[in-house]
Symmetry: D2
Subunit: 447 residues, 4 copies
C-alpha cells in the first residue's frame, strides 16, 4: 500500500576495475549506450565510485596521489534513459540524499604533484600531499589535519545529460581553439583522448569512435553543467538540466563529502565512493519555456549553518604574489584570498599543505565582492571558525602569538601525508622553486 524500498539502478563493484564495469563511463558522448531506464517521476539510488576509480588508498603516504593515472578518472554512473525526455526538455533533478557506503566510511583530499595534475596554487605548492577523512554520520575528521571536525555539505561533483552530436562538436571545436592558441608551458585544456576511454557497454567499434570524439569529463561546460563542482548543490537541491538527446542520458559521479568554494587543490573535495538518491521529473519543452542556456539550481534546506558572525573573511585583490598588478582578474584575486588564509592558519601550527588541503574541502565561502573598480577585482574567502576545536578568531591568534615564539598555541598539528621518504622540510623547500606559470587562470593564459 505504501511505497516500496527505493530501487537501485546502478551497483558498483569494488573488486573489479572500473573500466570493466558496464554501468560506468568516462566520456561525454551521445552514443554511449543506456545503462538503464528510469521513469519520469521516479526516485532511484545510484552507486558511484570515487572519481579516481579507487586509485587512492586509506593510508599515510601520498605516493598514490603523486602517481595517479589521470587518464583513469571520473568514472560516471550511467548514462540513464529518463522515460519521455527529449531534446529541448528540462530534467528536474532533485537530490534526495547522498551517503558514503556504510562499509567505506572515509574519503580523501589530495594535492597533485605539479607535474601530474597540479592545482590552483601549484606554483607555490608543487608537491603531492594527501589527507584522509573519516566519516561518522554527518561529521568528518582527519588524522592528517587535527583539531578540525565539520559536517559534510555532501554533493555530487558531476551531474548532467549527454550532449548532442552538434553540441559535442561545438565543445571540441572551441576547446581545440584554446589549445591551439596556448603559449604556456602547461596544458590549458585536453582534446579527446582514446587512451583509457571507457564507453560503458559500447562495442569495440563504437568505443573507438567515442574515444576519438568524446569530451573529457574534467571541465564543466555551460550547456549541460557536468563537472560543475558546486558545493551547495547538496542534499535537497533541485537542479534544472537541459536535455540534448532522446532519453536525456543522465550521468552522475564524483561524489564529495564536502568541498570549499573553488575546490582549490583540484583533487580538493573530500572525494568518496557512495550512493546518491535522486528524483527525476521531465519538464516538456522546458529549455525554451525557461530560456535556459545553462543549468540553474535551488539549494536544499539542510546546509550546515554557522551564523554569519562565525566566519573570518580574508580579502583578496588582483595583485599577484609577485606584487604585479592585474586588470580585474577575479582568478588572481581569489588566489590571493586563499594565500592570505593559508598564511593565517600557519600561526596556529598548521603547515601550508595542511591548510591548502583544508581550504579545498572545508565549506569555505568564496565570494566575488567587487568586479568594477579598475584595476582591482576584490574577492573574499570566508573560513568558518566552528570547524576548529579551538578558538581561531583574530584576537585568539594574537594571544597565541604572544604565548611563545612558535605562535602555535602548543597544539600538536601532526602532518599530512606526503610522498614516501620525503620530510616536511624537503617538501617545504620545494615551495621556493616556482615554475613560470601558475595553474589558475587568465594570468597564465595571457603570457
Amino acid at each position: 500500500m505504501g511505497k516500496s524500498t527505493i530501487r537501485t539502478v546502478c551497483k558498483v563493484d569494488f573488486d573489479r576495475p572500473a573500466s570493466e564495469q558496464p554501468y560506468l563511463h568516462n566520456r561525454w558522448h551521445p552514443d554511449i549506450p543506456f545503462a538503464g531506464t528510469i521513469k519520469d517521476g521516479e526516485t532511484v539510488k545510484i552507486e558511484c565510485l570515487d572519481w579516481t576509480g579507487g586509485q587512492i588508498k586509506n593510508d599515510d603516504s601520498a605516493d598514490d596521489v603523486k602517481n595517479v593515472d589521470l587518464t583513469k578518472v571520473h568514472y560516471l554512473s550511467g548514462p540513464f534513459e529518463i522515460e519521455g525526455a527529449a531534446p529541448g526538455d528540462l530534467l528536474l533533478v532533485e537530490i534526495m540524499d547522498v551517503q558514503p557506503f556504510e562499509d567505506r566510511p572515509w574519503g580523501f583530499t589530495g594535492v597533485f604533484d605539479r607535474r601530474n595534475g597540479g592545482g590552483f596554487l601549484d606554483e607555490i605548492y608543487p608537491s603531492a600531499a594527501k589527507a584522509i577523512w573519516d566519516f561518522e554520520g554527518i561529521y568528518c575528521t582527519s588524522r592528517h589535519i587535527p583539531h578540525v571536525k565539520f559536517a559534510g555539505l555532501i554533493h555530487p561533483g558531476i551531474l548532467g545529460c549527454a550532449p548532442s552530436a552538434e553540441l559535442l562538436e561545438t565543445w571540441n571545436k572551441r576547446e581545440a581553439e584554446l589549445i591551439a592558441a596556448n603559449k604556456l608551458d602547461r596544458d590549458v585544456a585536453l582534446p579527446p583522448q582514446p587512451l583509457s576511454c571507457h564507453a560503458g557497454s559500447a562495442d569495440r567499434e563504437l568505443a573507438e569512435k567515442i574515444g576519438r570524439e568524446g569530451a573529457r569529463t574534467i571541465p564543466g561546460r555551460p550547456e549541460h553543467g557536468g563537472n560543475c563542482d558546486i558545493k551547495n548543490l547538496s542534499r535537497g537541491s533541485k537542479v534544472f538540466l537541459p536535455v540534448h538527446v532522446p532519453g536525456a542520458k543522465f550521468s552522475v559521479g564524483d561524489l564529495h563529502f564536502s568541498q570549499g568554494d573553488g575546490e582549490i587543490s583540484f583533487c580538493g573535495a573530500i572525494e568518496m565512493a557512495g550512493i546518491i538518491t535522486i528524483n527525476f521529473q521531465v519538464i516538456k519543452n522546458g529549455m525554451a519555456g525557461l530560456g535556459l542556456r545553462s543549468p540553474v539550481y535551488i539549494p536544499g534546506p539542510v546546509e550546515p549553518q554557522f551564523g554569519p558572525g562565525r566566519y573570518i573573511y580574508f580579502e583578496g585583490f588582483s595583485v599577484d604574489e609577485a606584487g604585479r598588478q592585474h586588470y580585474m582578474d577575479v582568478t588572481v584575486a581569489y588566489r590571493q584570498a586563499t594565500l592570505r588564509c593559508i598564511e593565517y592558519l600557519r600561526r596556529f601550527g598548521y603547515s601550508d599543505y595542511q591548510a591548502y588541503l583544508l581550504l579545498s574541502c572545508a565549506p569555505v565561502q568564496g565570494h566575488v565582492a567587487g568586479v568594477v573598480d579598475i584595476p582591482n577585482a576584490c574577492t573574499t574567502l570566508g573560513l568558518p571558525m566552528d570547524i576548529f576545536d579551538f578558538d581561531i578568531s583574530p584576537l585568539a591568534a594574537l594571544d597565541a602569538t604572544a604565548e611563545g615564539e612558535t605562535g602555535k598555541g602548543g597544539r600538536d598539528m601532526g602532518r599530512c601525508a606526503f610522498e614516501s621518504g620525503r620530510t616536511e622540510g624537503e617538501v617545504r623547500s620545494d615551495a621556493g622553486k616556482k615554475g613560470r606559470v601558475s595553474f589558475g587562470g587568465g594570468l597564465a593564459y595571457r603570457e
Copy 2:
C-alpha cells in the same frame, strides 16, 4: 552616569560643493591633514556624502548618470587620527550602524554610459540608466523596478587607513606598469590626477603635491582595503585594518544601502549619503602579530536571511558570450552567470537594464564554485526569490510563459530611467553595437 550621546566627528553640508568641505577628500595620501581625532576605544558617528558628491538627482532621467563628472567622486570623510595608532598596528573597526539621513530617505543605482565609466557588462549594455530607491526603515523599493522590495545589507563601500609614502609609491609603480602595458582601447587603471583633487584642509602647495602623487580611490588595494565593496561588511561587522602611518588616518565613505556581489554596474550599489557609527580599537603591533597582509573581517549577526532554499542559482562558465573558450577565467565565468540571470528575469517582463541594475544592488550571492577543472572556471550567482512580490521560481516562470506570448505574467514592469528623449527601444538597439572589448577582466587585458 550612563554614557552620553554618541559624538559626531564629521558633518557634511549638502548646500556646499564637496570640494570645499575640509573634512572630505578624494585621494589616498599620507599627507592629507587630519580632519579630527578619535580616542582608542571610542565610538563616533561620521557623516558621509554619496560617492558622487551629490551629482545624481532623485528624478526620472539618467542624464545626470550619463554626464557624471568622474573626476569628482569618492569624497571620503576623514582622515581621522586614531589616538595611539602607529605603523604596524591594526585598527579594529566595528561598524555599529549605518543609516541614511532621515531627510534624505533615498538612493540610486546607475549604469554608466560606456564612454563615461562603463561597467561589467558595458559591451552589451552601453547606455546610461538609473533607478531611484526609496527607503522606509530597513526596506527599499524603486519606482523604476517595480514589484521588488528588500531589506538593506547596508555598508560602507570604502574604508581604510592612509598608505605610507613607501606604500603609495608601490601602488603608483605597479599600476603604472599595468597602464604602460595596456593594449586595449579602454582604461585599465588611472594614474594620479591633479584635476579635481580634493586634499581636505591641505594648503595649496601640499594639495598640489597630493594631486601629483595621491592614489585614486576607485580600486581597492590589498595593503589597506579601501574601496573593497564587500556587501557583507555590514552592520555589526568587525574589520581589522593595517595601519601604515602615525595616527592611522582612517577614512570612510561611499555608503551603500545594499549591493550585490560584484556591484556589477559599477555605480551599482544603492548609493546614498548617510551616517556611519563606528567603534575604534587599536591593536598594538597587530600586523606582525597576525601576519596580516590584507584586511580580514568578521560579519555582523543581522544580515537579511532568506534560507538557502529561497535562492535561484545561475551557473556561469568561462565560455564567453561569443562562444569563445577562456582558460580558468573567473571574471568571464561570473559575467556569464550575470547574463543568465538577466535573461531569466526577462521572462517576467523586466527589461535588461532593469535586471542589470537590480543584480548590481540587490543582495545576490556571487560564488566561485570551481577553479580547477581546466579550462572552465565555474561560478554561481544566487538570486533571492523573496525580494519579489510575485513568484519567480522556475516552475512559476514556466507557467508565466505558458500564459501568453509575452510570458510576462501580465505585470506592468514600467521602465528604469534613461537619457532624456531616448526610448527603451532605442536603448535596446544599442545593445547590438558591441565594442571590441568588455570591461571586465582578464579577457580584455590579454588581447
Copy 3:
C-alpha cells in the same frame, strides 16, 4: 590504518516480539542488566524499534492506532555500559546521525482515541487517526496529507541514563502524590506497572522486581532527560547527561523522523524504526563541575532552515476555547495557538485531523512569548510555509477564499486514515461531543 567501520552494538529483529529481545527494555530501573559495553570515546550504531514496537502498520486504516496496546510501547535499546562512567559524571553524547532502516523507508503519526491514549487536543479531536509518511533521503511525504513535503529534523525522542535506586524512589514518590491528589476523570500519571514490563535480559525474579518498581518511560524527568521529545536534539547535537549508576546504563529509542514543538497529538512525531549513531565521552565529576540538575544540549549545524520570514506565526493566549480566562497558563495558551493554526489550514481544504497530525510532526516552532502579563500568557506557533507545495501565506489564503465557496483553492486534499468503516463526517461530528476535561495541563488538574 584508517578507522574501521562503525560497530553496531544492538540489532533489532522485526520478526520477533519486542518483549523477547534481550537488548530492549521498557522501564527505567538501575538493575536492568547491561546490554553491552561501549568504550569512553567510542562511536557506535544502535538499532531501535519504533516506539510502539511495530504495532502500527503502513496501511490506510487507523484501527491499529485506535487499538494500540499502550502497555507495550517504548522498547528502548540498552542499557549500555559506558566504560569508566560513575555516578556524578556527565555523559557527553554526540548524535552523529539518525537514519531509518533502508528497507523500511516510512514512519507514522497518530492521533490516539481519547479513551486510549488521547492527546493535547483530545477533547476536541477524540477519534483515532493516522498518517503514513514515506521517506526519500532527507525528505518525507504522506499520501494522507497531500501537498506537503519537508526535510526531517531527525532525532531520538528518548535518551538517558538509568536512575539510581534513590532517584527512582524520588520519582515514584512524587508521581504517586500527584496520582493521589487527582480529581480529574483521566489519568494524570501512571504508577509502576508489572504488566508487559520488559526488563531486558533480567531473570524472572529480577524482572518482577523491575516491574514493581521501574519507572514508566512516558514522561521525561528532570534528573536524567529520558523522553524529552526535543525536536532540535537532532543530528550533530551534543547532550550532557547526568550519570546516576556505575557504567551509566545508557538507553535510547523512540526515533522520530520529524516532530513539531509539543508533539501535540502524543503519537505525534513521525515515529520510525531506525539506527542512531552516537559518540560517547565521559566527563568525570561533571555534574558537580557544571552543577547540572537536568541535561543541557547544544544543537547540531544541519537543521532545516527556512529563513525567519518564511514562517506564519499564530498567537495563543491563556483564554480557553470556551472563553474562560486562565491565569498565566502557558499550556492553555499553546493549545490556543495550535487551534488557531488548525482553523487556518482549513481554508486550504485540509481537514482538522490532517492539520492536527501535521502540526504534531512538521517542524513547527512553539515559543513561550510572554509569561508575565497577568493574567494572559502568550505563546506563538510558527508554521513553515515552505513545506507546502502551494502558497499558504495570508494573502494567498484570502485569494483562495475569494475564489469560491469552498475556499479550498481547488486542491484535492484527500483524507487521513480513520478507524475502519468511519467516514470523515462521522469523525467530525465527534468533535462536538466534548468531555469535561482536556488532556493538556494545568487546566485539567486544577478542576
Copy 4:
C-alpha cells in the same frame, strides 16, 4: 518626484508628564478619541515613551524600580484612525523600523519588588534590581552586566486596535470571573481602574467613563493582540490585526530594544523610548476571509542569527523547585528551564539577579518541547553563546570550575543596581524567604 520624508504622526514630550500628553493613553476603550489619521497604504513614524512613562532613570540605584507607580505605565501612542478601516477588516501592519531616540541611547531592564509588581521568579528573587543598557547602533551593553554585548531584536511590546464595546465587555466579564475565583494571596488580574487613567484627549466625562470601563493594558488579549510581547515581532515583520471599531483606532507603545522569550522579570525587556516606523494596509473583510480569531504575523528577515550550534539549551520539566510533581504544566516547566540557566551562569561569576535580568532581555529562545508525556511537560531555553565576550560553553565552564574555588574564571562581573543601601549579600538572603505562591501560572491559581 520621489517620495518625501516620512511623516511623524505623534511626537512625545519628555518635559511634560505623560498623563498630560493628548496623543497618549493607557487604557483600551472604543471611545478614546482619535489622535490622528493615517491613510490606507501610508508609512508613518510614531514616537513612543518607554512603558513606565519615564519613571526609570539612567543611574545605579533600583529605588525607582522598587517604588515604580504601576498605575502610571503603558502610555500608548494613539489611537490612530486608519482611513477606510471598518469592523471585520484586517489591518496589515508592517514594521519598517524601530529605533531609540538619538539623544536617548539607553534603556533598562528591571526586576520588580515582589510587593510591587513581581515577576516570573519573584518567589525566589523578591527584591528590586535594575540594569541600564547603552545602545551603540545595533548593539547594546550594560555596565551592570559586564562581558555581554548583543544586537537588538528591536520590537514593540504592544500594538493593536481598540476593542468594540461588546468585546470590551467580554474582556471585563471573563477577567472579573477569574478575579472572583482567586484564592491566592496575589493579584491574578486587575479590573478597570479609574486611578491614573489617561484617556487621551477625552473630555472629563468621557475620561471618567473610560476609567470605569477601560481594559488595563498589561495583558495581551487574543482578540486583538495588545501587549503580546513577542520578541520576533521585530523589524520587517508583518502582523495581521483584527479591526473591531470604525477607523481601527490603532495604538502602539512599550518599545523594546531586545527581549528574551517570556520576558521573565516582567519589566524584563530592554525598555526604551523611541520611534517606530509602520506601514498600514487595510484588508477589507479580512477577518472573515482569513477566519482570524487572533493576530498572526510573519517575522522580518533581519533577526540576529547565531547558527543553531551556538546556543546552549537548558531543559525544564514540570517538577517544581520544591520537587513537587505538576501535571503537564508548561509554565512550571519553563520556570525550571530559567532556573537551570541562572544556576549555570553562576559558575562564571554572575549573580542570580544579573542572570535573571539577562534572561529577561537577551534573545533567549523559549520552546515548548513536549506537552503530551504525562505528567511532565518539557520546555527548553536556548542561551546564545555569542552574546558573551568569553567562552561559556559547558567544556569551558568545566575548565573555569577547575581553575579555582570560585569557579569564576577571574572576571570581575560587578553587580547590577539594587535598592539604595542594600548590599548584594542582603539581597541574596531575601531569596530564602519565599512567600507561598509564585507569580507564574497554573501552579498558583490552582491552590
